[in-house]
Symmetry: D2
């Protein structure tokens, strides 16, 4: 009996539950967690009319919020409270209402207190990339806060 290999994965799952327990915009936009692992998170959403701009395409702020939330789950997956400090996003293709989006955040490198995470947002309809995001995190506490 050796539960150790599962522990980082279980820790990541517990941390993701904490993160999503109190994320109001994630709930409002309907983000759902597909998977989480140490340094990694995958979220899904379907674009509704509530996410559109005047051009009838998905607001950049919604795409950013999706990617940023995936980043926050990935960078908190090690059990230490971390926050995004600087993020950039490139809008590659327009997104329409009804499109289902998958955001996959992955740790690129990490030092003691900082990390770089890339998040690709893909349209599940055709598998094409709609946005590329890179975020920089900073660890601000050695434990996680309580869920809300």
């Amino acid at each position: 009996m050796n539960p150790l290999p599962d522990e980082p994965k279980k820790l990541a799952e517990r941390c993701a539950a904490v993160m999503l327990s109190g994320d109001a915009p994630a709930r409002a936009f309907g983000f759902s967690l597909r998977r989480v692992a140490p340094g990694e998170a995958e979220l899904e959403m379907t674009v509704t009319p509530g996410g559109l701009n005047v051009f009838g395409t998905c607001h950049g702020g919604v795409l950013f919020t999706l990617a940023d939330t995936a980043l926050s789950i990935a960078c908190n997956s090690h059990g230490r409270q971390s926050v995004a400090q600087q993020c950039s996003i490139t809008f590659v293709r327009p997104v329409q209402a009804g499109d289902r989006l998958i955001a996959h955040a992955l740790e690129r490198c990490r030092t003691t207190r900082t990390g770089i995470y890339d998040c690709t947002v893909t349209n599940a309809l055709d598998g094409k990339v709609v946005a590329e995001f890179r975020g920089h995190s900073r660890t601000i506490a050695d434990a996680m806060p309580a869920p809300r």
Copy 2:
């Protein structure tokens, strides 16, 4: 009688009205327009519990959406349909529920079809900067779409 000096300002106001007429996230988060001029826009919002993350501070996605919306009004203020292509944001200080935020977007440089816009988000409570944003726009049509 020389109405010309007012025209770019009036065009900017008409374009801002078009932009905000169909911006669902701007409406949901309660953004209001303080002022608009050619290459410039100022938005205001008050952070509600609906904008918080699990740490009890304003979600980075909300701050980005505010700045990105100010950018979109500023870069469309010349009467030609433009979209953000690449944006970056630095989170300088945490923001609490109840804080009133002012986002001021200003054109930094412009070529025929591209522009760079800086947007500073300030906490009206103490005048301190909470986020610095820089966005790159691309003009995709020579007129504006109809309001929605």
Copy 3:
């Protein structure tokens, strides 16, 4: 006999030779090509005293130039003249004189005229990442210029 699978690789090699034939800073800093393939390039350099800042560490401009040159080879590897438009770099760890650096640029996504390339700069001494770079390219001609 089917030479086709090799052709994109050979095209990439010819394009890299063109790029390096007239790159004065690459020559001055002593960059050498380790490998090139479609959408990919790997450069190597050894940091000399000529690359140091007053703190005695490698100047950020040298690390950027290395990554940017790898990007330019990767984004020109398809045989169409392309230029960097917007690039960002994160300095992860300091680099000393004598360190041997490897920059690996890889295409992340591509549309008809634009591309996103990530370049990781690693210290060959310990295998640790020293800088992470992301660059956006734009294709400006359908062929390559002549070598210089």
Copy 4:
């Protein structure tokens, strides 16, 4: 007799002298200091054939090195050793050999240990912007190192 108002400016000048005393790439590319003040620095260079890429235009790495050096002088102007952590640059217009460039770095905001600096690179020939740069600094010591 009140020498105080001059002191921050004199401190900035002394710090700039330290920074440039050991900056090998700045010397190699021929950067010269036009002015320095607290949180601000202006450098100048003339593009030589040694700064060109194969397209016959100024290498992005040279433009970045110029802006990054201006940033390093500006962020060290307060007398505390600071380094760039993350920088981004947008190439707005191509630059030719013989063009004289002016890089003006200005502090945008600052907390205890971090700062954001914008640097605009202008072609002195026609006054047009050729690159826009934004850099993030981190203070790593409360004094400056000795000149080299």
